[in-house]
């Protein structure tokens, strides 16, 4: 019995090591091709349009409602202690710009565009289209992975900036309608306390998430195996791994940014 457990444990450990090695090779190959060959700009633009168009409405809605919730909770809490809602704009501004907008946007994009990428590349893999790319003289990393990684890097920070505005607008609406906070007070709360570095804090995180999510989803796609079921499994794993990576990297990136004084 113990032998069986040890064997299962060893097998699982080997599997994890193998996946880590394959992922590292994909990253290495991506970096090498990115600097060595001509970028497929047409493919990159197509991917930018897909990722942006796919994710924009749901991203805007998510951060808009998050901003509304923040304003509602912030207003209710301060009203409880100070008999009036205070610093609602500041609370919404900091929380949205530094943390929630990049994280929520990355989660939404991972669930929407990341899953689509894993499913598309996975289907290409199991129907031998990726092998066909090799035989037709191009490297799949160059033709498929780099345009998607670049598109994420170009589009995700842009979506985060739009989400910043959407979240703040959501908070502003609640502050105005629910707590009758004058617009000038709400905006002054934000403008008087927030600096460019606070905005940069969230903006830099967006780049970190873009690289991680795009590479994970591409990796899960190009390593899919076993037909429709395999593609489904890879797609689910791509989304779950991306989400875990977003939270882990969020902490690590925050720690680095705090250490660098970008906070």
């Amino acid at each position: 019995m113990i032998e069986m457990w040890l064997s299962a444990l060893g097998g699982a450990a080997l599997g994890v090591m193998e996946s880590a090695g394959q992922f590292a090779l994909l990253v290495q190959s991506t970096v090498r091709w990115m600097f060595k060959s001509k970028i497929e700009w047409r493919q990159t633009l197509i991917q930018c349009a897909r990722i942006g168009a796919d994710s924009l409405p749901v991203t805007l809605m998510t951060t808009f409602f998050t901003g509304m919730v923040l304003a509602l909770q912030g207003g209710a809490s301060t009203e409880h202690f100070f008999n009036q809602p205070l610093f609602v704009g500041m609370l919404v501004g900091f929380a949205i710009v530094m943390e929630l907008s990049p994280v929520m946007t990355a989660l939404v994009v991972a669930g929407r565009a990341g899953a689509a990428i894993a499913a598309e590349l996975g289907t290409m893999k199991v129907t031998e289209q990726i092998d066909a790319l090799y035989t037709l003289g191009t490297d799949p990393v160059r033709y498929l992975v780099i345009p998607r990684v670049l598109a994420f890097i170009l589009v995700l920070p842009f979506l985060v900036v739009i989400s910043d505005f959407s979240g703040i607008l959501g908070g502003y609406l609640v502050a105005k309608v629910k707590y009758q906070i004058p617009p000038s007070v709400f905006w002054h709360d934000i403008v008087d306390t927030m600096r460019v570095r606070h905005f940069m804090h969230g903006y830099i995180k967006a780049y970190v998430f873009a690289v991680a999510v795009s590479l994970i989803c591409c990796y899960k796609g190009v390593t899919a195996r076993g037909g429709a079921e395999g593609v489904g499994k890879s797609t689910t794993q791509a989304v779950v791994l991306s989400m875990v990576a977003i939270f882990v990297l969020d902490y690590l990136a925050t720690a680095v940014l705090v250490a660098l004084g970008i906070t």
Binding site: M124, T127, E128, Q129, D131, A132, Y134, T135, L136, G137, T138
Partner: protein
């Protein structure tokens, strides 16, 4: 000339090829036959460089892809091949003409302005016209195979590798594909390796046949040699007999005699 010497290929603990020796002379059409899972497609992928052998070597015109030192050498190696995949492997996000001309960008110096006309010409060679703007999903199985064949010959390779070209097609369409393969060989004077388990197709298109069994070459010879082979395993395979030395399980689970009693 293609030469495979002692090719071994393993996937995890399973050894698929156990030392395959095969050579294909220039202008020849070698048909590799064998049961499902015997390593035919794996060997083809080792030849084109999609898989790397764990042992032995594959050389094409004296060049071994495993020894290519840079991307240019790898590209030069791949440029020699056209590859017809079992299911076509057409890019479903592209139109037919984009599929046919996809490799030209990477394998040739032909100007993109000429791609559409070239696609029309290659499609005409496989008997198709007025489908340039269709998508693969809009075509039948036989048409997809023909488009894939047009794509394989678009860059005018010296070698064409066919992975089960007639699998999944009706008998008439299978014969049409066989005729196309013969026709292309005459027109383009290419060297071909065809992997199949369709004996009718093998007899029709082969200059020579080799049979793979359990990861090794069981026998090689002309179509006539195979028709009259005294080897019981070759005889069983080419005649499609369920009884013989090659054992195939009828059922994954055979009820115990005692259980039935």
């Amino acid at each position: 000339m293609i030469e495979a010497r002692g090719v071994v290929k393993r996937f995890g603990s399973r050894t698929i090829l156990r030392g395959v020796d095969i050579s294909v002379a220039t202008g020849e059409t070698l048909v590799i036959i064998g049961g499902s899972g015997c390593g035919k497609s794996t060997l083809l992928k080792c030849v084109v460089g999609l898989l790397h052998p764990d042992g032995g070597s594959v050389t094409v015109d004296g060049r071994d892809i495993a020894k290519c030192r840079n991307e240019a050498e790898v590209a030069d190696y791949r440029r020699r091949f056209g590859y017809l995949f079992q299911e076509g492997a057409l890019f479903d996000s592209m139109t037919i003409w984009e599929n046919v001309t996809f490799g030209l960008r990477y394998l040739t110096d032909i100007s993109p302005a000429r791609y559409r006309r070239l696609a029309r010409e290659k499609l005409a060679m496989v008997g198709l016209k007025d489908i340039e703007d269709f998508r693969p999903a809009e075509l039948s199985g036989g048409m997809k195979k023909r488009v894939a064949l047009a794509r394989a010959i678009a860059a005018e390779p010296s070698y064409i590798l066919y992975d089960e070209p007639t699998t999944g097609l009706d008998p008439i369409m299978s014969d049409v594909i066989n005729d196309l393969i013969l026709d292309l060989q005459k027109q383009l004077k290419v060297t071909s390796i065809v992997v199949t388990h369709d004996m009718k197709s093998a007899y029709k298109i082969a200059s020579r046949i080799a049979m793979l069994h359990e990861g090794r070459v069981l026998g090689q010879g002309s179509p006539n040699d195979f028709k009259t082979s005294a080897d019981p395993r070759i005889h069983q395979f080419v005649n499609g007999l369920s009884q013989g030395p090659i054992k195939m399980k009828l059922k994954d689970y055979e009820p115990d005699a005692a259980e039935g009693a």
